[in-house]
Amino acid sequence: MAEVNMEELLNCALCPNICRCECPVLQVLGREAVAPSGKARLAAMLQQKQLNWDEQVLEAVSNCLGCRGCTIYCPFAELSLCDELLNTRLDAKDGGIKLSVVDPCLVNLSKHGSPYGQKKGSSAAGDSGAEILYFAGCTSQANHPESIEAARALFREAGVPFQMIEEDCCGYPAEVWGDEELARQLAAENRRKIAESGASTLVTNCPECWLTFTDRYPAWGEELPQEVVDGPTYFLGLIKAGKLKPRQSSLGKVSYHDPCIWARTAEKTAEPREILERIPGLSLEEPLSCGKFTRCCGGGSMFQLSFPEASAAIADRRLAEFPEGAAIITACPFCREGLLQDGEGRRVLELIELLAKTCCR
């Protein structure tokens, strides 16, 4: 289990937090207990045994989207409060405390390999032995099969053989909910299947899966033998190679929502925009905050399941930053879900779907 870095935690706890304006949870809830330094102080008190675990403490330190918005202005280069809080939460299980609202989701993960319950069918598909393995992730599998269809159509259109395995959740939700043991079990099972696939490259369109494969799997001793490539970079490569040729889109004005992990951890802000620029007929207009300054959609750290009301309020706040009349394009299944909470019925599409619509016959 990763150790909490007490010095960094205290740096945050003792700071007036010039990041407060960039913590979406604080800004919608207005609660000091969920301010970055509020959570850091509670975490520090837990470490120093000045505070016992209870559901109220766990609820407060779980109120983190993992969006790293707090790093934008953070003066401490080595500090990632999101990671420190995640590591803090891993102790709660030993204290016998869990968030009751996500208990059914953890049971689902344990039983079915998906937080959403029994899978709707097999996810295995494509050409056995293909060099490319596409990993869709549990959220697309459960809620947005159309984005998986779009990926398949793009591979076929480009003439690229691909395969998909019988996926389990990557383990990300279990870890953010503090069950590292379950996360590691899921990782081990996925790693076995991914290794057996024989593919040389794993492509995923889900930033949470990408982060877990590239950062957590090595930490858990489950490093994947394949190169792991993010969807936007991979599909842009197919366009550049002339294998995908986007045609005119009738969508007109579009605005791109940078998913937090792609923008701030993977630093993939140019690739999705380049794809949009290569689709004729689109005019790209940026939202108020974009690129590495993006603001979370309310979908980070499984918030839609853990804290649905806060998630919806965060989505509303983010949606207000987009230009009127623009279709919102994103590249993350959680962002898609978050932004689809829009009461005004704005059009929200995943980049991969837009690309498939313009490339595939």
């Binding site: 007036p16 937090n17 990041c19 407060r20 207005g30 207990a33 509670l42 108020l288």
Partner: protein, 487 residues
């Protein structure tokens, strides 16, 4: 089981049964989701960024605990909550984002924290009259961002911009880094809306000025929660500047630098930012510059032709007073780092005691106050650095901002009190005001009698008239003795 959290300054608290009754009634008024006795909420709102709170935190203690937190969402809800607390004689402390530096929000007598952060709407932007009406709980950076989107600036940039609220600015009579051009918060505020202890709502008028007796709504500016709760304000805004000019200079000594600034202000030029650093701070902030000289940084902004003219007038005065030009890059560096206060977290963890103490000087005593305060701070055993700079400049003087760091061998709180006693004595002896913009809170209340003389009694009488049961932020602004916090 852990021990109950230790409180250092807690005085008497209302009976828990009284608070429980209040909580039920409050939930009926504003919804149960806006009322919390959750211990994590109580722990989180019990403090601000007074360095003493940080020292205690590292020792596993808190200053004092409230018994309830409430989040009203309208002025009417604030009124209902206060009227109820007044009936029950329950102490109430307004809370914004907790960036205060003097213990102003510590709930010394328990009771209720009114957290204003759910009152964060921008009610209207009147472009014709250049006025915005905004609720008290909006975060400063987000307020400015909202105005920028519409092509305006609020002109108020305290170092706490990203971690403070508009209501907090008004309550502690704040000053922003660009204040020489845009004014302090009391110049920017045209009117306030507030609720008194008994629930009375009153709003100032949004006219440029009036000759209609004292403007009572202005009493709230700088009141630090002792009269009631500021719920909204109408503030001036400016079109985003057409041009910005950055310039820096160095002087052989502070005397020359201060004289140059005095003459600039006398000329009528109004640069937005004027900061003159002593040699220690010059070395700390701008290591490329010689630490034997004193840096002056200037930022001028506004309409192009006015900026060009001001630039010329300012250059003339500073160069005539022995300045050497250093270009714009040091100002750019300052702009990039001006909100960064990370050193405090690191030093505190290493066992340091530190603070910043800002006072207001006139020109005639600007240098002598600096020297006297520096001598007093350095004279306390354990001090390793006592430096200063001037900013927030006026035709008649400037704010002097001292920074002190020490590693005392003795008890940290004893050392801290000695630092302040020395600094305040020096400041008062030189004729400076004991605070320019951090306010009074709990700690600086210890010198309010010396600062105000009979004026403090006037303030007490006003407090008595507006809050006869003394429920609003008790123990602050030096109006009464706090037994557990003495000189």
């Amino acid at each position: 089981m852990t021990e109950p959290i230790r409180t250092i300054l807690q005085e008497s608290r209302p009976d828990q049964a009284v608070i429980d009754r209040y909580a039920r009634a409050a939930a009926g008024l504003i919804g149960a989701e806006n009322v919390s006795a959750n211990h994590v909420d109580l722990l989180s709102t019990c403090r601000d960024y007074w360095p003493v709170n940080s020292i205690w935190m590292l020792e596993g203690a808190v200053p004092a605990l409230p018994q309830l937190v409430v989040w009203p969402q309208s002025t009417e809800e604030v009124s209902q909550l206060l009227a109820l607390a007044n009936e029950q004689r329950i102490p109430v402390v307004p809370y914004g984002e907790g960036s205060g530096a003097l213990g102003g929000v510590i709930p010394l007598r328990g009771g209720v924290m009114i957290d204003l952060k759910r009152m964060n709407k921008l009610r209207s932007l009147d472009q014709k009259n250049l006025l915005v009406t905004v609720e008290a709980g909006v975060n400063g950076e987000l307020y400015e961002e909202h105005l920028n989107r519409a092509g305006y600036t609020g002109g108020h940039f305290p170092q706490s911009l990203r971690c403070s609220t508009v209501g907090g600015w008004l309550a502690c009579r704040a000053a922003g880094q660009f204040s020489t051009r845009y004014g302090k918060i009391e110049d920017i505020a045209v009117s306030t809306e507030a609720v008194l202890a008994d629930g009375t709502i009153f709003r100032g008028r949004r006219v440029p000025r009036s000759s209609t007796g004292p403007r009572v709504d202005r009493l709230m500016i700088g009141s630090e929660g002792i009269f009631g709760v500021i719920t909204a304000a109408t503030l001036r805004v400016w079109p985003l500047p057409e041009k910005r000019h950055l310039a820096s200079y160095t002087f052989e000594n502070l005397d020359d630098g201060l004289e140059a600034i005095r003459l600039v202000m006398r000329s009528g030029a109004r640069p937005a930012v004027v900061r003159l650093y002593d040699a220690v701070e010059t070395g700390n902030h701008f290591p490329e510059l010689s630490d034997q000289r004193c840096a002056l940084i200037l930022l001028i902004e506004g309409a192009r032709t006015i900026v060009d003219a001001e630039q010329e007038v300012i250059a003339e005065h500073v160069l005539a007073n022995g300045a050497e030009e250093s270009g714009s890059k040091y100002v750019e560096h300052w702009l990039e780092t001006r909100f960064n206060i990370s050193a405090a977290s690191r030093l505190l963890q290493k066992g340091a005691v530190l603070d910043t103490i800002e006072v207001t000087t006139n020109w005639h005593n600007a240098l002598s106050t600096y020297l006297a305060m520096q001598e007093a701070l350095k004279g306390v055993e354990g001090t390793i650095m006592a430096s200063g700079h001037w900013s927030h400049v006026y035709p008649e003087g400037a704010a002097l901002y001292m920074t002190v760091v020490g590693f005392p061998a003795e008890d940290k709180i004893t050392y801290y009190k000695k630092l302040w006693q020395g600094a305040m004595d020096a400041s008062l002896a030189e004729g400076a005001a004991i605070s320019h913009h951090h306010g009074i809170g709990l700690h600086r209340g210890l010198w309010m009698a010396e600062e105000h003389g009979k004026g403090l009694e006037v303030l007490r009488r006003i407090k008595g008239a507006l809050d006869p049961h003394g429920i609003m932020n008790p123990g602050k602004l030096g109006l009464e003795e706090v037994a557990k916090w003495q000189k």
